[in-house]
Subunit: 238 residues, 3 copies
């Protein structure tokens, strides 16, 4: 299979390295771009359109077809927009503990109001947010030992918040013929309340979809890259 | 143990063959009738009463006692009615990713309104519904590879819808002394929203019950017959 | 690590024996007091304050510091009160399928009204409740065979109900700096409805917390003591 892996907030493309190695060992092709606004030394002043266009441009420039397009966390919104731009290049969308946004809403409309408020209060003057380690350790890497959590945290970079507050034009997404999967790591506890859970909170906005579940928290790409690679294949196959 | 296994919509008794073989190897007795209206070449014009009476008649004709009566999916409603007819023949009811219907309601009252509407629109002129493969593959056999999904799909036959729209007399079901178990395959994604989930959406209408959980989707009888047999014993024991 | 394990209703400190043995084998220190009002031959006429003070007194008298304080079921409310009394002695709170009570509410305010009513009706003249075995077997030991369920049930003693009906002063609990974990045995079916579930029903009242999940029902301390010991370490580490 041909995978394009889209990372989430605070992450960059290299965060997929472990997963990509397992996928390549199993014979798959993997692309894992770093989104505009992310990664060390990036310009943080980016729009959602610029962010999504970078993935679309990658698919077009490399003439990638039959793509299994995977979005993790914030990356879910990105793959929604890319799917609208180049549906014919896609074999399937895979949302991995990822946001699924409704037309006309912003990503922040789909998180608990208390969390959206806290993100705003913790933001730096340049509009970026750096996660406190205590939150990252317990909410995102709850399934890991401390050394793994620290190593993962060291990979995080400041996240520009503005694009998560933009209302998004997603007209036509519900009607797209591209099939969808939701890969749910079931110990993820970023937002405990059912209404804001990844599954079924976010996932049920997909309409019909294939559910694939695995143990682990929000950062299984660090804490269980082999397991995640296996489940990405189950999510993306046929 | 003495198991009577009641299949769901689109299935017939032979769909239990794999599970039944594992149960018999472990020393259990298994009956797996095909319901009226189901199976190849069946008359599709059947009522819910005719459907349930066939199971009751089997228990009476063969003088079966101390029965663990299992209902899968639509079969949940059937075992509710059979329990009201012959409670003294039953050791325990086991609902496996099955409907639990309230008195005076129909099965379709307990599915999402959008799903009930879609079933109606997809129905053939003779009032039966054949599931589209794309839905079967992703919603019911999400845990399987394509070959397994195709083999399972080839076993499906058209389902008469009328009996799922009949309001059902279930007076006395809540008060029956027969103990109940709910066997929940946790990756089942037929109806994602919690309200319409198998557990706790359907299960909580049982009152007190024993919960037994296992990995897998709606069709574990095909995708993991050995695992399902083991869990049926846990659900039915003492 | 230094564990103080607080049992739930109907239990006593010896119910942790299996878990404590595994923890000690792994090099940890374990204290497992029996609460006032519990255990064979106890005076059942106790208040919640007396109950919680016994744990606080243990920590002070033995000068225990850096404690991982674990509460199971009813013990969740106890560790909330102990945390308010001696926060500086605690490294982390671990709630294991445990109640988390809001300030000014009672524990019974956080169970389904039908259950609270049933508890009251089943109570003995002395205000204690002994669980019927049928309920214990199916709702609390659903993951066990009959012999294990019977052996566990033989350990139960009558529970004084009054302290579960007391509104509790928990001012300041939300603001305590002590980090929290919720250890969730996912097959626990004491209260099936999501609103009254252990996780996320009870757990989400903790604010930020580390979620640790494992298979098993409400009595994993009997049905899987080795597994529970492993997960207590994951819940309590760093």
């Amino acid at each position: 299979m041909r995978f394009v892996l889209v990372h989430g907030s605070w992450h960059d493309g290299s965060c997929w390295d472990g997963v990509a190695a397992h996928l390549r060992d199993a014979g798959h092709e993997v692309h894992a771009p770093t989104l505009p606004g992310n990664g060390a030394d990036a310009k943080r002043d980016v729009t959602l359109d610029e962010t999504c266009a970078a993935v679309t441009d990658l698919l077009v420039a490399a003439d990638l077809r039959d793509v299994v397009l995977v979005g993790h966390s914030f990356g879910g919104l990105v793959v929604q927009k890319v799917a609208l731009a180049v549906p014919d290049r896609l074999r399937r969308l895979v949302f991995h503990n990822a946001y699924v946004v409704e037309h006309g809403r912003s990503l922040f409309d789909h998180v608990p109001p208390s969390a959206a408020a806290a993100f705003g209060e913790l933001a730096a003057p340049d509009g970026t947010l750096s996660l406190p380690f205590a939150f990252f350790r317990d909410a995102l890497t709850n399934d890991a030992d401390l050394a793994t959590a620290l190593a993962a945290f060291a990979r995080m970079t400041p996240e520009p918040l503005a694009r998560a507050a933009e209302p998004v034009d997603l007209i036509g997404f519900a009607e797209l013929a591209v099939p969808r999967s939701y890969l749910h790591a079931v110990d993820d506890n970023v937002f405990p309340a059912t209404e804001f859970s990844w599954h079924p909170g976010q996932s049920q906005r997909l309409g019909a979809f294939r559910l694939v579940q695995m143990p682990g928290g929000h950062e299984v790409l660090f804490t269980d890259p082999a397991g995640l690679a296996t489940k990405l294949v189950e999510a993306g196959r046929d």
